[in-house]
């Protein structure tokens, strides 16, 4: 119902507009040539001035601004890139330094170890030599003792035999005869006694 009224009203108003147009002398004011020349004149004037000012003064400035911003951004990017490269080379240098110091430290450690080993070896050699000397000396002493032992034993044997004989028989026995016997015995059985 309301819709119908609306449609009616719309239709009526269009009718009304038409009547109003009819009432106007020229219909559309756009087709009235009274001010055409004035409009053309003012259009050319305003548009021309605007075009001149825009093209000569304002647009070059805007394009300049855009260009300078672009170039500045590019410069900044370049600078950042350069700094990045710098830091990368520095990082590489740092790595190299660390590597170098590591190898140096390794070399130093090896050297120290070698030196220590050499020292130890030298000391051991000296000690070994000392020990050998001592052993040799001891052996020599032993040898000397051993060399002297049969004579002493022979002497002891002679003395004991002569004393034994004296106690047993009560007579003095010639030492030389006893020693002859002992010598003979020891020569015969020396091997058995001394285990040479």
């Amino acid at each position: 119902m309301v819709k119908k009224i609306y449609l009616h009203l719309i239709f009526l108003s269009f009718f009304f507009i038409k009547e109003a147009f009819a009432a106007e002398s020229g219909g559309m004011p756009q087709l009235n040539p009274e001010f055409w020349v004035s409009q053309i004149f003012w259009l050319v004037l305003t548009f021309g001035i605007m075009y001149l000012v825009l093209s000569r003064l304002i647009l070059p400035k805007i394009s300049n601004n855009l260009e300078s911003r672009k170039s500045q951004i590019l410069e900044n990017i370049e600078a950042a890139e350069k700094q990045r490269e710098d830091s990368e080379t520095k990082l590489k240098e740092y790595d190299q330094i660390i590597l170098k110091s590591k190898t140096e430290a390794n070399a130093m450690f090896n050297q120290a170890r070698e030196k220590a080993v050499k020292d130890i070896n030298a000391k051991r050699d000296v000690l070994d030599k000392q020990i050998d000397d001592e052993i040799a000396k001891a052996e020599k002493e032993i040898q000397a003792l051993r060399d002297n032992a049969p004579d002493k034993i022979n002497k002891i044997a002679i003395e004991t035999s002569s004393e034994l004989l004296q106690k047993l028989i009560g007579a003095e026995v010639n030492n030389s005869s006893i020693s002859a016997i002992v010598d003979d015995l020891s020569r015969r059985n020396g091997d058995k006694y001394y285990g040479n």
């Binding site: 009203l9 507009i17 106007e24 020349v37 004035s38 003064l57 304002i58």
Partner: protein, 244 residues
């Protein structure tokens, strides 16, 4: 009806009558709004280009976005050869856009709703493009009317059609803008009239229509300025890079 919906297009004299010879060049409301539009454009873009900061402020951003928008539109449609005509197309787009937009404010006058204004602009573009075409290609520009790959039998017909379509460019260009502006504003006026005549009871529906139409007309105001500029670019492209 409160008022005639066409009366918003009336041109009337402001101040005294100025005559140069037989011509009446009096200052009118149309002249006033042309001046308001151009002064606003110059003001905004002057403010937007004054300082050059790396982080642009709002008005600088507006100016630079408009600049890049129009520059991209031209390079997309007419290529790099159209660079010398950038300032003209930029001025044209801004002038039409600002005139359309100022017309959206109630009680203002829409400069572009007058056929004579749009026709002068379109005729200037048409003549300019034709002159550029003949300068660039000499009489070779006439090849524009002879599309390649058309059978010889159809050629006479096609050439006639091409010539008619070429000659009707200024008319279609000017009438498109003028008719869009006039129709939109008339429609808004009519719906505004309905709000008054239907009163507090029935006026709500046309009022909501009016609100929606205002949004639509703002869109149309921008779109028609864009279409006007982009068609100019396309015509320029025909003159600069002969495709046919």
């Amino acid at each position: 009806m409160a008022a005639n919906p066409m009366s918003q297009f009336d041109v009337y004299r402001i101040g005294p009558e100025i005559k140069v010879g037989a011509f009446d060049i009096s200052f009118t409301n149309a002249s006033l709004f042309m001046i308001i539009s151009t002064v606003s454009i110059l003001l905004i873009f002057n403010l937007g280009s004054k300082k050059n900061s790396i982080l642009p402020n709002k008005i600088q951003l507006l100016a630079e976005l408009s600049y890049t928008f129009v520059a991209k539109m031209i390079s997309d449609t007419a290529g790099s050869k159209a660079k010398p005509y950038f300032a003209f197309i930029f001025s044209l787009f801004m002038f039409v856009l600002f005139c359309n937009m100022f017309g959206m404010i109630p009680y203002t006058f829409t400069v572009t709703s007058h056929i004579i204004v749009t026709f002068v602009l379109a005729a200037f573009i048409f003549i300019g493009v034709t002159v550029i075409g003949f300068i660039k290609h000499g009489f070779g520009y006439l090849k524009l009317f002879v599309p390649s790959g058309v059978p010889a039998v159809l050629l006479p017909l096609i050439v006639v059609i091409e010539i008619i379509s070429y000659l009707s460019r200024p008319i279609s260009l000017s009438v498109r803008l003028f008719a869009n502006m006039m129709a939109g504003h008339t429609m808004m006026k009519v719906f505004g009239g309905f709000v008054i005549s239907l009163g507090i009871v029935g006026g709500w529906l046309p009022l909501s229509f009016s609100v929606a139409l205002t949004g639509l007309e703002i869109l149309v105001a921008f779109l028609q300025a864009y279409v006007f500029a982009i068609l100019t670019c396309i015509y320029l492209n025909d003159a600069l890079n002969l495709h046919h």
